[in-house]
Amino acid sequence: MILVNVGSLSVSELRSIAVQEGIEGAESLSREDIISMLEDKYGEYDQEGDDKDPNLRYMSGLTDYRDISKYVEDLPGVEDLPQGYADTEIHVIRKNGSWLYAFWALSPSDSDRLQDSGCSLVLSVTIENNGHREDYDIPVSYSDSEWNVGMPYGNGFCRVALSSVSKDGEKSVLAISEPEALTDSYWISHPEEMKYSESLYRLYLTLLTNKEGELVDTPVVRDIIHLFRKEDTLDE
């Protein structure tokens, strides 16, 4: 983590960043206008509109040598990466407690064969949780190659397959991911014990709460703390 403070930047620093970011007329703009235009500019880079510290972005103007690309391209051994690989495959990576990131590829021969025969594609999601099994399909197109898949907390796993579906509805598995374990937390599966665990709850909070009383930025923790508060009459 880098401590960044927009207020630390002088007008000349902000102008220097604005010029590097391609903002025209930056030399004559006020400090507030430059900050506003930079915020717009960096906002364009946000792909998911998440809650990143906007101040962090100002580091790029200070540390990123924008002309470096023409030098780095000359480094020995640089080759273009392929757009894809000639294998049909699927992988999942856990993003967080509730989401998996799935990405896949279809070999050119599989792609041609399936499209010629009019097949469609689906992601077949299997979730096995505490002995219960759930299966569902997510339709995807031939141009798709990634998807985020939701998963519950529990004791079990989630697995995603790339499948083709023929015109008459017959499904064939093309590739299948490794299973990804669900987040299996003692406290989420034992809420009934929470009302007898007040001192433990307080102890957990001592480690995970800052001096302003804010909780560590982790959704699973928030869910557990919420359960503690719901299961008991503890003060917040």
Partner: protein, 528 residues
């Protein structure tokens, strides 16, 4: 008695571009050396000389340790310091005529630079030898990390690749420090069930863990992280105390945000006339940090107050007292819950102290001195705690990290997810190469070793993190493409059963890291 494990992680990605007379990203290393690694060592040596009883743990990541022992980079650092000293001499003169409020600090910076360079030369240009001497005096515990600081949970479907990161990290530590490390810094506190078995197989005794790993565990924790966790493989985990570390880390209310502390960003390199600073910035006219910073944080305003060292040191005294007081108070709370002699694990990036937070090393010195003078605190190390056979609890943990959200969201988002498609494929191909060419020596062996090296470098967590943060993105992307592209050169050539000798010699020269690497590291392993 509150037991305190101060665990510092010193890490930088492997950046070495000797093909250019100067390379901007190499300044990451030079700034950190001058502002953190050497001053921190000097401070610890001072404590030792004064008879202060202190302990802490420091991880020098394998990439950083390699750069710190690299003769050409050491030579470049001396050039960098000579430039910094030359600018300092000019600044001392300038601030006699103008900005006279800055004169004392200009003198101070110049003096610090001279002392640091002198210490660097006295250590034979190898700052790690100074840390090793403190380790041998049992003042610090040296530990290692993954070979290129890969964020390991993302690679859990590839145990051979994870093992390669762990094994090469351990081996590099032993090669550089002359003995194996017992502790292993999990990059980004990234843990997943099963990782500890790989650590155990490689002789690791302990690692640090994210703060929320205990409350979210599969088993009920009684100690809540205030005692070591025994992981299923027998490796011990030390849970980071988020509450106490936030007193420093918080970008909103942490001590380093105090208005009297020195501002990190307001640097003379950005506002003094171009002709004056031109020899000390990047060619052709890219303004960069020079290290000469004269303003206090002051507030979110344009007109910043000049820095007062005296006022800042008063704040350091207040903050060290507050830090220890907060731990002591927290200790009462924990002991009242029935946990005697709680262990507080205070994990930080080393570069915060001195480099980003100028007064940070003074803060650490104050904390260590005051703790030694008190009966309420004992600074110790995880290994000492393990050897003392105190209480611990067996827990099975879920996946976790110290990143925002507690999992992998930083290293896997819309901006950087594309890299894994290529890295996963490269891992699979590397495993395939080890099967197809199980016994290659000489040139083909070197070729395959280079492929392993490129793959490890591509796996570094720094690249996706930089892309996520939006800092130095161009460089990170180029590095990724370079390493993966280079890997593909080997794969394509070996598929044709040929070796591109000229390419190999150039590639080996550009990445002088892991000289003892053996491509068999990537022999496929069963997931369980």
């Amino acid at each position: 008695m509150n037991k305190l494990n101060l665990i510092l992680q010193a890490h930088l990605p492997y950046v070495r571009h000797l093909e250019y007379p100067k390379f901007l990203e190499e300044n990451w290393l030079f700034e950190s050396l001058n502002e953190t690694y050497i001053p921190l060592l000097r401070m610890l040596e001072r404590l030792d000389a004064d008879g202060v009883d202190f302990r802490l743990s420091i991880c020098f990541s394998p990439t950083l340790a390699t750069m710190l022992t690299d003769a050409p980079l050491q030579e470049r650092f001396v050039d960098y310091m000579n430039g910094r000293i030359e600018l300092g001499e000019k600044e001392v003169e300038r601030t006699l005529r103008e900005e006279t409020e800055c004169h004392d600090m200009a003198c101070r910076y110049l003096d610090e630079a001279r002392r640091n360079l002198e210490r660097f030369e006295a250590l034979g240009r190898n700052v790690l030898s100074g840390y090793k001497a403190l380790h041998e005096k049992n003042r610090i515990e040296l530990m290692t990390s993954a070979a290129t600081h890969a964020y390991l949970p993302i690679y859990k479907d590839y145990p051979a690749a994870v093992n390669a990161q762990v094994e090469m990290g351990m081996r590099t530590h032993e090669r550089i420090f002359g003995e194996p490390g017992r502790g292993f810094w999990l990059p980004e506190c990234g843990y997943y069930p099963g990782l500890d078995s790989i650590l155990a197989d490689n002789g690791v005794s302990w690692c640090q863990l994210a703060s929320h790993s205990v409350i979210t565990a599969k088993d009920k924790s009684i100690y809540s992280g205030y005692k070591p966790v025994e992981l299923p493989s027998g490796v011990y985990g030390f849970v980071r105390d988020w509450s106490i570390t936030s007193l420093v880390w918080s970008s909103v209310s942490g001590y380093p945000c105090d208005s009297d502390y020195r501002d990190f960003y307001r640097d003379a390199g950005y506002y003094l006339p171009l002709d004056y600073v031109r020899p000390y910035i990047h060619e052709p006219e890219v303004r960069v940090f020079t290290g000469y910073k004269y303003h206090a944080i002051t507030g979110r305003i344009e007109d910043k107050a000049y820095y007062s060292r005296e006022r800042a040191m008063e704040k350091v005294a207040l903050h060290t007292d507050n830090f220890l007081y907060s731990i002591k108070r927290r200790g009462y709370t924990v002991e009242s819950a029935g946990i005697k002699d709680p262990v507080f694990n205070l994990c930080f990036d080393a570069e915060l102290f001195g480099h980003r937070w100028y007064e940070g090393i003074d803060f650490l010195e104050g904390v260590l001195r005051k703790a030694d003078a008190s009966d309420d605190f004992l600074f110790t190390t995880p290994t000492d705690i393990i050897l003392s056979n105190g209480e611990s609890e067996k827990l099975r943990l879920n996946e976790s990290s110290w990143g925002s959200g507690g999992f992998s969201d930083i290293w896997l988002d819309g901006s950087n997810a594309w890299v894994y498609r290529h890295i996963f494929k490269a891992i699979e191909r590397m495993e395939e190469l080890t099967e197809r060419f199980p016994d290659q020596g000489s040139l083909k062996g070197r070729f395959l070793n280079q492929a392993s090296r490129e793959l490890l470098l591509a796996m570094a967590s720094d690249w996706p993190c930089i892309i996520h943060d939006g800092t130095s993105v161009t460089y990170a992307e180029k590095r990724l493409r370079n390493h993966l592209g280079s890997f593909n050169v080997v794969y394509s050539a070996m598929s044709r059963n040929t070796v591109n000798t000229e390419w190999l010699i150039n590639a080996e020269k550009s990445s002088e890291i892991f000289p003892d690497i053996d491509y068999h590291l990537f022999e496929k392993k069963d997931k369980d």
